[in-house]
């Protein structure tokens, strides 16, 4: 059957990949693609800035495990996607980005809206393509999806010149993907598993460190079964939050710069770390030279390059987390670790997550606790980046994978709101919340128009401290209280802003208005809501390991 490349791509995505939704923004170079979309049943969400499209596709992917798709035009359209693609790359989420490019004959001539998209996105994609030959369109789109969703997942970009979109091709999808240089290894090596089981048996203070890879490979059930069999405490990374229910008796919170003190102490004192789907990022380990000095490390990861990159590993297991955990669980011997548990319980009692109370103003951590209470811990929590993110991570205890969505690696302010749009579209029956700061929310505030147009009741809770709180906190602690450019004394009236966008808005300035406002927001079903909560500017995130510091230099409060 003859059709245009644009039509073929749409048909392929719907029929072969089950894609139901695109997030995008039209423009000159993609006009034929949009023209093909006009007659299609594929739903398209019109964002108001391309960055929003990438984050929305990412939020869709993170909340479902499916591939998210975003579309943008050439030049500025493509460059506006860049932050979103980099965010997905750092957190290994599967998205496919389709960008328009100037006509094939105009490439390289500094044409209108021309930019070297493939060159720009090379370091932030798992792979990318410039599709110049229309006859390769179906092979490339098939490869793109395959690469995005297999192995260590990640973003793939296809840059398509305007004339290629409208070229006619025969619709014939290749039977299989043939990539000589891409063969992810899923099966764990049996010998490595036996060595791991032996180390586990010999260990006295074992700990499991679960990362985003556990969620990405849908290995949560296997993780819990494994942890229960060896009765071993589980700490997570920020990205691993939700891999085990946080009210599970084996769960000991998340480690890292703002992780629970007991989690950090536990990993630091352990004699064996069973790390699964983690990359030992600097925010998780603190000073890497002094990280967990007594521990041997078993590292299970799908990406061989992560093994030994940041920390030295004793038993590397390159495999899919789910399969490795299944197999490892079969061969490990049950154990009990009573002395170790006693120690951990002592830390948990001695250093619980807590926060300073202020009588005069609303305390942000308390807001998170109230949101948790009112949503019964069931909401999908998306965060922006900064203090809001850390407070949400600390005080919203999640129950399941894909329930906590945050930009962990790139730390992208402005991620939360568009990502929550993607998450809400994919999870119509669930409450989706964006925990925001007054700084972050302004970075993609234009997406209120998208959410309003789509009638998406995303709940935005702005923890409004009239400043860029995390940087302010560093300035207070390490820069002699010199608050350079972090105080946002002039800010929009979010209530009026919501109104202007056709959303609901409400201000909360007193603590006794809080619960009512949360309930009000949770009951809205036809449009986005902003609850602007004035919180104590001086509230800080603790515990804190100063950047580059060791876990034992942790500031408790």
């Amino acid at each position: 059957m003859q059709m245009t490349v644009a039509e073929a791509i749409i048909k392929y995505m719907q029929e072969e990949e089950g894609i139901e939704i695109l997030f995008g923004y039209p423009g000159g170079a993609v006009i034929s693609f949009y023209d093909a979309l006009y007659n299609s049943t594929l739903k398209h969400v019109l964002v108001r800035h391309e960055q929003g499209a990438a984050h929305a596709a990412d939020g869709y992917a993170r909340s479902t495990g499916k591939v998210g798709v975003c579309v943008a035009t050439s030049g500025p359209g493509a460059t506006n996607l860049v932050t979103g693609i980099a965010t997905a790359y750092m957190d290994s989420t599967p998205i496919v980005a389709i960008t328009g490019q100037v006509r094939t004959s105009a490439i390289g001539k500094d044409s209108f809206q021309e930019v070297d998209t493939r060159g720009i996105t090379m370091p932030i994609t798992k792979h990318n393509y410039l599709l110049k030959d229309p006859s390769e369109a179906l092979r490339i789109i098939k490869e793109a999806f395959y690469i995005a969703k297999t192995g260590r997942k990640g973003p793939v970009l296809i840059d398509i010149p305007a004339d290629v979109f409208s070229s006619k091709i025969e619709y014939s999808v290749p039977n299989k993907v043939e990539l000589l240089g891409y063969r992810p290894n899923y099966e764990p090596h049996p010998l490595q598993l036996r060595k791991a089981a032996q180390l586990i048996k010999e260990s006295e203070r074992p700990i499991i460190l679960a990362g985003g890879g556990v969620i990405s490979s849908d290995a949560s059930t296997e993780l819990i079964k494994f942890a229960e069999k060896i009765n071993t405490p589980v700490v997570t990374t920020l990205m691993g939050k939700g891999s085990i229910p946080e009210d599970h008796e084996l769960c000991c919170g998340f480690i890292g710069m703002h992780g629970a003190a007991y989690a950090n102490y536990a990993i630091n004192e352990s004699d064996l770390i069973i790390a699964i789907g983690v990359r030992f990022s600097d925010r998780s380990t603190g000073k890497v030279e002094t990280f967990a000095p007594h521990a041997k490390i078993i590292h299970i990861d799908i990406d061989p390059a992560e093994v030994g990159k940041n920390v030295s590993v004793d038993i590397p297991i390159v495999a899919d987390a789910k399969r490795a955990l299944e197999k490892l669980c079969e061969i490990v011997e049950p154990k009990h670790n009573p002395i170790w548990w006693e120690k951990i319980k002592e830390w948990k009692t001695k250093y619980p997550l807590r926060y300073r109370w202020y009588d005069d103003e609303i305390v942000p951590q308390y807001v998170i606790e109230k949101i948790y209470e009112k949503t019964k811990g069931e909401a999908i929590v998306v965060t922006e980046v900064g203090q809001n993110q850390m407070w949400a991570a600390q005080f919203y205890k999640v129950k399941r994978p894909r329930q906590f969505i945050t930009s962990g690696g790139l730390g992208t302010m402005g991620f939360g709101f568009p990502a929550s749009i993607g998450a809400k579209i994919a999870n119509k029956d669930k409450i989706v919340i964006d925990i925001a700061g007054d700084g972050s929310i302004q970075m993609n505030i234009q997406e209120l128009a998208t959410a309003s147009a789509e009638k998406l009741p995303v709940k935005i809770f702005v923890l409004n401290n009239s400043c860029l709180g995390m940087v302010r906190q560093w300035q207070e602690l390490f820069y002699n209280k010199r608050y350079a450019c972090t105080l946002l004394d002039v800010a929009p009236d979010f209530e009026k802003l919501a109104d202007a966008y056709g959303a609901y808005g409400r201000k909360v300035t007193k603590i006794d208005e809080l619960e009512d406002a949360i309930e009000w927001a949770l009951n809205i079903n036809d449009a986005p809501v902003i609850v602007d909560i004035k919180v104590k500017r001086e509230a800080n995130v603790f515990p804190m390991i100063p950047a580059g510091g060791s876990i034992d230099k942790m500031m408790i409060d």
Binding site: G119, P123, H127, L130, L180, P304, G308
Partner: protein, 160 residues
């Protein structure tokens, strides 16, 4: 320590940019580079000389493997190989020095590929040390220009 890596890659547009980009953004310096097709039409071989300890090299190798178009990475460090570079050297030469230069060319099994009244172009192949030595011997006559390729290597057939 210097390592010679040989990458078999798919011969596709942009593949060299991917590798060069990977090396530069991860902070690995490329000392020498040679790229060309192989006996298989859709594959190219990239031979790289890089500096770094074992840990750095392990990361380079793994990161290179992550590129979809990289099929095979071989580290030839410590492996018996035939190693070649080619250099073209323009050296000053007149009637008074020509004979002496020709003697050197013969000793090094190089060849003169261009002659003028003021200079000669000499072609020499060999491993890095040989080319360095040849260059040093020519220096007293005055080297006006030198072009040198990246290193290429091939593993020896006989394991001794």
């Amino acid at each position: 320590m210097q390592h010679t890596l040989s990458l078999i890659v798919e011969n596709k547009p942009g593949v060299l940019a991917r590798i060069a980009g990977l090396f530069s953004r991860r902070g690995y310096n490329i000392e020498s580079l040679a790229v060309n097709t192989t006996e298989t039409p859709n594959l190219s071989r990239i031979t790289l000389v890089v500096n770094g300890d074992e840990k750095v090299l392990e990361q380079i190798t793994k990161q290179a493997y992550k590129l979809i178009e990289v099929i095979k990475v071989n580290d030839f460090t410590g492996v018996p190989v035939v190693e070649r570079e080619l250099a073209l050297i323009r050296v000053k030469s007149d009637a008074s020095t020509r004979r002496a230069i020709i003697d050197l060319v013969e000793i090094f099994r190089a060849s003169i590929v261009d002659v003028s009244d003021k200079d000669l172009i000499i072609e020499v192949t060999g491993d890095s040390e040989k080319i360095d030595a040849f260059k040093k011997n020519l220096e007293p006559y005055g080297i006006k220009e030198m072009v040198r390729t990246g290193k290429i290597v091939m593993e020896r057939g006989l394991k001794l």
